[in-house]
């Protein structure tokens, strides 16, 4: 029995292809990319060894710091909004809509699966100010406020990007937390009610502690995505105006494919990877300590 379950040939046949593809296309390129950080050049014209020059450039490049700041600012704000609003949505599903929430859940989830570019274009039109006002400005003008050139300045463009990404993914977090809420045994909530817990205190003392694991999972999933934000920014502002809404991912893309600097591009990608690694380890550690409590 043991020997059949441990048959090496079978393991190789079943695991081999997946592991091979994964190693060749993901693990090896990560190492090669790391190697590229010591070179200058492109695929077309060959590479020159430059030592640590790319790293020196990284530390003195204002654009990197601006992109890093944008990435962190965006990731933090969007993650908090996605998870908190998603949680609120799940509470609405469970306590206000009860059994009839299927229709609204389905509607709110739909944008999650739309092509990001489609949503990006839609939002660029909703928030446009020239040649004619989009819906957002029309609303502002109709209530007596002036229109805003949303995508014409970095700060307002940032707001639009965050609004769009929250709109796009809130249904996802709603469903995610909702599935966690459904797992709370009915009698726990019922007995808390009998004990007099109502509204906020019911939420604070019963519902919230029960949903901490799912909240944590949502948070991990969200931050893992928002740190790597690329599609929505690319489709909505393509980093502009100027480079005011350029995250690290997009700056790396520009460096490599518009300025043809693979070495420096890889260095920026490495910085991004290290940030992802730090976040992952941080989350991993805090989840461990939670479990031992």
């Amino acid at each position: 029995m043991r020997s059949v379950l441990a048959d090496r040939k079978t393991i190789l046949i079943l695991l081999g292809p997946a592991l091979l593809v994964y190693t060749l296309i993901m693990l090896v390129p990560v190492l090669v990319s790391f190697g590229l950080t010591f070179f200058d050049g492109t695929a077309l014209f060959g590479f020159d060894f430059v030592g640590f020059a790319n790293y020196l450039q990284l530390f003195t490049d204002d654009q990197v710091w601006a992109a890093l700041l944008f990435t962190l600012k965006y990731a933090l704000l969007t993650t908090v909004l996605q998870v908190v609003l998603g949680y609120g949505l799940a509470l609405i599903y469970l306590f206000l809509l009860k059994r009839s929430s299927v229709f609204i859940r389905t509607l709110v989830f739909f944008p999650v699966i739309l092509p990001t570019v489609a949503v990006g274009i839609l939002y660029s039109k909703l928030f446009q100010s020239a040649p004619v006002d989009g819906l957002a400005n029309e609303l502002l003008v109709n209530v007596g406020l002036g229109g805003v050139d949303w995508l014409g300045a970095g700060d307002t463009a940032f707001v639009v990007i965050v609004v769009m990404d929250v709109w796009r993914s809130i249904g996802f977090y709603g469903v995610l937390v909702f599935s966690g809420l459904l797992d709370i045994p009915e009698d726990i909530i019922e007995s808390a009610r009998i004990d007099g817990a109502r509204g906020f205190s019911l939420f604070r003392h019963i519902v919230l502690p029960q949903t901490l694991p799912i909240l944590f999972a949502s948070f991990i999933f969200s931050i893992n995505g928002t740190v790597k934000v690329f599609d929505s920014v690319f489709a909505l502002t393509s980093g502009g105006p100027g480079s005011s809404t350029t995250p690290l991912t997009l700056y790396m893309y520009r460096t490599a494919f518009q300025f043809g600097d693979y070495g420096y591009g890889s260095t920026i990608a490495l910085l991004l990877t290290i940030i992802c690694l730090i976040i992952t380890l941080f989350i991993f550690r805090s989840s461990r300590s939670d479990n031992t409590r």
Binding site: T10, P115, A118, I121, K125, E138, F234, A269
Partner: protein, 295 residues
């Protein structure tokens, strides 16, 4: 019943619950729900309304007004100028084979890592798991160089190969989790009956995993369908454009001048997804949520 018990036993609850007060209390909730439906649904309706307007109509009238005349020809224009037949075909040609290969390889690997017994399986699972964290930018340049040197950059092959690889971590992990739920005795029984492990994978494991494989396939389908980064790099030529790239180019070259067809193009790409969604929405929602919790 519980209501009266609560009021009589707990003094701390000051609010009395009368039917009228209850109805009034529900008003904010109803407003909140109405606002939610409006905020989530109206942008899509708005897009559809504007896909049916002529350019003059769009420029001269409020964008929320209904079209003066229903310009269905926008859809024909979008289909032609937006190169939509080609981009939809390309997206399908790149994503469908990838998803099939991912499901097959990922299920096999999940089986080997969870059902079979050998040293080193948990480190291997961790190595796969690490892949979820790696950003696409970190593998992009070596792959571009390699595929360029292999002279296959002029086809959809690079995309398929990459999609299979980037889909692997989440799939392997999800499948391993699903296999964990199957009692080990099932496979032990089939080996006692004389089946090899390979045989019991194909004749017991795969059929039992039908639902899970389907869920994983849906998750990967949408993740890959919406890929932009790799498509930008490997599907830049017009004949290779995927939907995302096609929309991007269309909005750049054409959409700034003629709005109706741009909205129509987005509506067409959205409609395809909508049809799929109408049939599979519960499956898609629970599948994607499961992917997040397990990942």
């Amino acid at each position: 019943m519980t209501e009266t018990v609560a009021i009589s036993t707990v003094r701390a609850v000051p609010r009395r619950r009368r039917p009228l007060a209850r109805a009034v209390r529900r008003i904010p909730a109803l407003i909140a729900i109405a606002a939610l439906v409006l905020v989530m649904g109206y942008p899509l309706v708005w897009m559809f309304i504007n896909s049916l307007k002529t350019n003059a109509d769009f420029l001269n009238n409020p964008s929320y007004a209904l079209p003066e005349s229903w310009a269905w020809e926008n859809y024909a224009k979008a289909w032609e100028t937006g190169n939509l037949a080609v981009t939809i075909t390309n997206s399908l040609l790149a994503v469908v084979p990838s998803v099939i290969i991912i499901a097959l390889l990922g299920t096999a690997a999940g089986f080997a890592l969870e059902v079979m017994v050998w040293k080193g399986r948990s480190p291997v699972l961790l190595v796969f798991l690490a892949g979820i964290m790696i950003p696409g930018q970190m593998i992009l340049l070596p792959l571009f160089t390699a595929f360029f040197n292999l002279k296959i950059s002029g086809s959809l092959l690079p995309l398929i190969i990459i999609y299979v690889a980037i889909g692997m971590p989440l799939t392997v992990f999800m499948m391993a989790t699903y296999f964990r739920a199957i009692p080990r005795e099932v496979f032990e029984a089939s080996t006692i009956d004389g089946a090899s492990m390979l045989r019991s994978f194909f004749s017991v494991g795969l059929p039992m995993m039908r639902n899970a494989i389907f869920t994983v396939a849906i998750v990967q389908f949408f993740l890959l369908w919406n890929d932009l980064l790799f498509a930008l790099v490997f599907a830049g030529q017009r004949k290779l454009n995927t939907i995302q790239i096609g929309l991007l180019n269309f909005s750049g070259e054409y959409g700034a001048i003629d709005y109706g067809p741009l909205f129509a193009a987005i509506c067409i790409t959205t409609a395809g997804i909508l049809v799929l969604y109408l049939f599979l929405n519960q499956r898609i929602m629970s599948g994607l949520a499961a992917g997040a919790v397990k990942g």
